[in-house]
């Protein structure tokens, strides 16, 4: 089954080069008739510029056609008048007008020399085919030459990741798996990395950092992966980054928004998730435009590295811009009752309230804010821009809530439309959650780097290829600075308006004006 699939892929790739769809799985069958410009590759017709001819009982065929049909890399040296084929570890050099050919540097005698006919280089088909191990049949009645190339299965390119498939962050972890599975299938159906299929090995770390560290050690040492995706949450990413750094295997992370990770001098760690720095400018743009109405600010944050980092950056930015931060409270991560916190904050009557937290907590914070009638002019929840927030609150109650988002399914980024359609179709869902978008972008970057690394898929070469990345992805442009951070990290400020997420800042990409002040809950 596996072999058949690989063959299908190779045939598809070859067929793609000729601009037609794959005929069928199996060997590559090339049929040519003496004196006819019509040839067939896997039963699909190809028109030749120059028909095959017979010279001294040997068939000569166009050099480029046969090379592309068998899937070889072809080259032409006008000075030496030499043509060459490279297929896997076989290199054949033929010289026009000479009966001496070279196979991997060893001189070999030909019965008939290659020659030029009507500007086309013609080469002996039997010699080429048999040297690369293909079978040649001659039908004297129909004067047809049939070349059958059996396609060998190439070893897959192994990449791996530890991700939360069960445990407290399984909800987000599943989106990573969904996006990566889709990306891997897409690249494999397009022929993989230089004909090699990608094999993604996922290990469930249950969001437990010890499991994460063990998983990456196993992936590298036992499974022999040559590149990795990062796990979910900063707590798990730190040990994972230490492991890949130790073994010098590149990691493309889509699961940590902590900026401090980039200050650890990692050489093999790259991240596409916008770090906390990226949240601040769009938020400040909005707040600075509301300085007359918003003066006091209350902040709360979940008890994680990310929560602490984001809240302290927010606090600094607000204080520097002349706002008064009345409280900056740490809170439990994944609790049940935030009423005490919200009651405390409500009693301080801030103009704006911001929380740095994850979706489930934001949902409870919003509901409990409504219950105690806490109605600040701005209500911001770090990750309320996750569509699960809207789904679990309802459009009426969510009206006016703000959040930051790294990926949106309706963003006009390159390839986003196709990705969203493919994702919705494959998983039968009505929207793409933002973690899936970021995970997909990480796959786009890694696969692009693998392709650019070419035949030399050593971790070092892949690392260098990733470092040179400058491409458009579904989350926008990605180019890494020398700390491995995406210098085009982008985290717009969004607001829920009429049951939809609208970008309100930065103004360059805004889709709507801010609704200010936020209406009371449920109005």
């Amino acid at each position: 089954m596996k072999k058949a699939l690989v063959m299908l892929l190779v045939v598809a790739l070859l067929a793609g080069a000729f601009g037609f769809a794959p005929a069928r799985a199996g060997n590559i069958v090339i049929q040519m008739t003496i004196g006819s410009t019509k040839a067939y590759v896997n039963s699909k017709e190809v028109i030749l510029d120059q028909p095959p001819v017979i010279e001294n009982g040997r068939t000569l065929v166009p050099f480029r056609f046969i090379g592309e049909a068998i899937g070889a890399k072809i080259d032409w040296d006008p000075v030496k008048k030499a043509v060459s084929y490279i297929l896997e570890d076989t290199k054949i050099i033929l010289i026009i007008g000479s009966t001496t050919a070279f196979v991997n540097g060893v001189a070999t005698r030909l019965d008939v020399a290659p020659k030029i006919l009507s500007g086309r280089t013609m080469v002996p088909v039997r010699f080429i085919s048999e040297t690369i191990g293909a079978k040649v049949d001659w039908d004297s009645k129909t004067r047809m030459v049939t070349v059958t190339v059996s396609v060998k299965e190439k070893a897959p390119v192994k990449i791996g990741a530890a991700i939360a498939l069960t445990g407290k962050y399984a909800t987000s972890g599943q989106y990573y798996k969904m996006a990566w599975d889709l990306a891997v299938d897409e690249i494999n159906s397009e022929g993989g990395i230089n004909g090699r299929k990608i094999q993604l090995i996922l290990i469930d770390d249950q969001s437990n950092p010890t499991n994460t560290a063990n998983a990456y050690t196993k992936l590298i040492q036992e499974n022999g992966v040559i590149a990795t995706f990062g796990p979910f949450t900063t707590d798990c990413t730190v040990p994972a980054a230490n492991i890949v750094e130790k073994f010098k295997v590149p990691m493309l992370s889509a699961g940590s928004a902590t900026a401090a990770l980039y200050q650890r001098g990692y050489k093999y760690y790259f991240g596409v998730f916008p770090p906390t720095d990226a949240y601040i400018p769009p938020i400040m743009e909005t707040f600075n435009s509301l300085k007359d109405e918003v003066k006091t600010i209350a902040i709360s944050y979940e008890s994680t590295d990310w929560g602490k980092e984001l809240s302290s950056k927010l606090k600094d930015a607000f204080t520097n811009a002349g706002f008064k931060v009345v409280v900056c409270e740490e809170r439990e991560n994944g609790g049940m009752d935030y009423t005490p916190l919200l009651t405390k904050i409500k009693s301080l009557a801030p103009d704006a309230y911001l929380d740095a937290g994850h979706t489930t907590d934001e949902i409870l914070l919003a509901r409990q804010s409504k219950e105690i009638k806490f109605n600040p002019k701005i209500w911001y929840g770090g990750l309320t821009a996750d569509y699960n927030f809207l789904k679990n609150i309802g459009a009426k109650d969510a009206e006016g809530v703000m959040g930051s988002i790294a990926y949106s399914s309706n963003a006009h980024t390159q390839g986003n439309r196709q990705f969203v359609d493919a994702f919705k179709k494959r998983y039968n869902v009505d929207d793409v959650e933002y973690h899936a978008g970021i995970a997909y972008a990480a796959a786009q970057v890694l696969f692009d780097a693998l392709k650019r690394a070419g035949n030399n898929l050593s971790p070092e070469a892949i690392r260098n290829a990733i470092a040179q990345t400058d491409m458009e992805t579904v989350i926008g442009r990605v180019k890494f600075d020398n700390t491995g951070k995406n210098m085009y990290s982008f985290m717009p400020l969004v607001q829920i308006q009429n049951g939809k997420y609208e970008v309100i800042s930065p103004s360059t990409v805004a889709t709507a004006h801010i609704e200010f002040p936020k209406p009371a809950w449920g109005r």
């Binding site: 069960t166 909800t171 009651t343 979706t359 489930t360």
Partner: protein, 286 residues
Amino acid sequence: MTSVILNGILIGGVYALLALGLVMIYGVMRIVNLGHGPLVALAGYITFSICSLLKVDPMILLPLNGVLFYGLGILVYKTLFKPVISKSRIVTLILTMGLGYIIQSLILIVWGADYRSILTPYSSRSITVAGIPVSFMRTILFLLAFFIIVLMYIVLNRTKIGKAMLACSQNLEGAKIVGINVDKVFEFTNGISFAVVGIAGTMIAMIIVLYPTVGDLFTLKSFCINVLGGLGSVIGIPIGGIILGLAESISSIFLPVMWNNGVAFLILVLVLLVRPTGFFGRPENL
């Protein structure tokens, strides 16, 4: 301050309802049900599915889930608990832990990992008590908890089966000697405890967000209340619940909010130091 105390009492009622099933199973059968939280979550998920499928009000499902979970309780007792109940407490502990994992995995398979909420026109509504807005749902939950606990108290002290349950709880050997069919009592206890879990899950699902591992949170809170109120003491539950709720709420006024769990557990430690049996526990229940 008033609003904080009011909220503390209300959330205490929610905690009490959450803990009731765990407390009764422990009180009579001496089984520490680590699958308690996941069972509550399961009831929530079932409610979610029926509500979104039939577009009915989740309140209607209270009796239905009660009956459904009563049946489940009988089944779990007969197939899982009965064969091991006379064995060491470690065996039942591991068994219920496994049960919890199975339920969590089942939830992950059936409902997936997405967040689920049961939204009704009255969820997140508030009512005004003495000029203070308080959660409508929590008030309902509090009243329901109060009602069920009073009902349980009456059943335990006024009915034959209830008295038999109390007898088993106080002295199992004695109960056997006076001719109580311990097996039947255990079966009924497990059934009724699961029924309470089913009802609690239905209600709690309306104030929280469901995800596969949400149950762990419930097990922890329930366990804390069980110890505070007195192991296996039904009457201790509302006391334990309200103390926990008040400790969390009031401490947040004077201390960082992050400390409210710490304060709650500090009180737990203090209570255990002064009264190792909890407020209403008896030494024989340990």
